[in-house]
């Protein structure tokens, strides 16, 4: 089975600074991998590299079978990235935003509606401008955009930030469902307790290199066997 992410001695530069200084990472389909590490360890850059947004300055890298050095644009339409910024248009409503990003990814209005329903945004928040939402509600809206796009690889940077307890539980369910449906998830987080129960592997980055790569302790935390219907069940 071809790995979803295969990085070997990967180097990525922020200006002249090597944010990634030789990362080796191998992620198989349906895995939920958590990236730990102190601030500045390179977690965000690693996610952006896997999304095809940051360039590969050294080493080799393939994501979803696409060579990051030769054509990193090819991978972009197949990944979903939830970063520190929401990616939302403040003056547009929740429904406008989810609908636009769903269509931009080639999905349909039905996918957007199902994603909003799943994230609890289909009620009174649907027609509220994003500028008037709380941080947690914005996070839910960004997640709804991601769900509507039905990516093969989910890349999430501190996804629990700003969410209330219900939102965090919902996010965890969402990630488990995505992996069960055939997607692969890589998330960066400082919340060790929360993500320990979610992931199949924990990768620790320090100074732009992988310092530790261990399987999650409990086997029952691994995702269940995949259904045959692809990733459509997520939304």
């Amino acid at each position: 089975m071809e790995p979803v992410i295969d990085l070997r001695a990967a180097v990525s530069l922020l200006g002249r600074f090597p944010a990634l200084a030789g990362v080796d990472l191998h992620v198989d389909p349906r895995e939920i991998v958590v990236l730990h590490g102190p601030n500045g360890a390179g977690k965000t850059t690693l996610l952006r590299l896997c999304a095809g947004l940051a360039s590969l300055a050294g080493g080799t890298g393939r994501v979803l079978g696409c060579d990051l050095r030769a054509d990193r644009r090819a991978v972009r339409a197949r990944v979903g990235l939830l970063g520190h910024q929401s990616g939302l248009y403040e003056e547009l409503t929740v429904a406008d935003n989810v609908d636009f990003w769903a269509r931009a990814a080639g999905a349909y209005a039905e996918d957007a509606a199902a994603a909003m329903e799943r994230l609890g945004l289909a009620g009174r928040l649907r027609d509220v401008a994003v500028a008037r939402l709380s941080a947690g509600q914005k996070r839910r809206t960004s997640l709804a955009c991601l769900v509507a796009q039905r990516p093969e690889l989910w890349l999430l940077d501190e996804p629990h930030a700003g969410l209330d307890a219900d939102g965090r539980d919902l996010l965890d369910d969402l990630l488990r469902s995505a992996a069960a449906a055939g997607a692969t998830v890589v998330l960066a987080s400082h919340e060790h307790d929360r993500t320990a129960g979610l992931s199949s592997r924990i990768v620790t980055l320090v100074g732009g290199v992988v310092a530790d790569d261990t399987a999650a302790p409990a086997l029952d935390r691994l995702v269940p066997a995949p259904p045959t219907s692809g990733v459509d069940d997520v939304a």
């Binding site: 999304a51 095809g52 947004l53 644009r73 972009r76 339409a77 990944v79 979903g80 990235l81 970063g83 520190h84 910024q85 929401s86 990616g87 939302l88 248009y89 403040e90 003056e91 547009l92 409503t93 406008d96 636009f100 990003w101 269509r103 931009a104 990814a105 080639g106 401008a129 955009c145």
Partner: protein, 222 residues
């Protein structure tokens, strides 16, 4: 590409409908520019009459810079630009969509400015065929150049000041051509204006083609 262009243009026009920035800020700025020129030149009515076509297009150029800064500002504000790069949308489609939305907004603005020069400067609007044949390609050219430099400037810290410095010199030929064509239309000598309208169309076409071709690398590297 056309589907992507429609999607982007629809989103940008929806943003304008919801925020009313062009209507509430850019259009008043353009009218204020006309008023200030009028106040400055009013003592010599002849100068104002002669300068009306040029003042109209200068107001359009200044306003277009504001509209483009707004158009790309919303993409830079909360990381939407990265998501555009991640989307399945073609860069050429994004360019055409941004261009299309900008053209619609500028055409509405220019309609208001035409009324402005008629009321404030007492200009008699004649030669409508030439006026329209000038406005459409000139607006497309202004929007194409502005959109091209808009994406170039959006990734830079000093984009607010850099965009006019980059775009306005390139738009000088549009200012000259559109002004000459308008002068001919308003003077009742349209035959003198049609060659200028043709040049404006060529200019717009060249920059639209260049924009479609170059937008991918520009979106990537800025």
């Amino acid at each position: 590409m056309w589907r992507d262009a429609r999607l982007i243009a629809g989103k940008d026009l929806l943003l304008e409908r919801r925020s009313r920035v062009s209507l509430g800020q850019v259009a008043p700025f353009a009218l204020l520019t006309l008023v200030l020129f009028g106040v400055a030149l009013d003592p010599d009515r002849g100068v104002l009459d002669d300068a009306t076509p040029g003042l109209f297009w200068i107001a359009v150029l200044f306003s277009s810079i504001l509209a483009v800064q707004r158009s790309w500002g919303v993409e830079a504000a909360d990381g939407a630009r990265d998501h555009l790069r991640l989307s399945a949308l073609s860069p050429g489609g994004i360019f055409l969509g941004k261009l299309g939305a900008l053209v619609v907004q500028l055409l509405v603005l220019e309609a208001g400015l035409l009324v402005g020069v008629a009321v404030l400067y007492g200009a008699s609007l004649t030669g409508w065929a030439l006026l329209v044949a000038t406005i459409v390609p000139a607006t497309a050219g202004i929007a194409a150049v502005s959109s091209l430099y808009g994406v170039l400037a959006v990734g830079l810290r000093a984009r607010e000041t850099l965009l006019p410095l980059l775009a306005l010199p390139v738009l000088a030929p549009v200012l000259i051509g559109a002004t000459r064509s308008f002068e001919a239309a308003l003077a009742g000598t349209p035959n003198e204006g049609w060659p200028w309208a043709g040049l404006l169309a060529l200019f717009a076409l060249a920059y639209i083609v260049a924009g479609v071709a170059a937008y991918g690398p520009l979106l990537e590297d800025t």
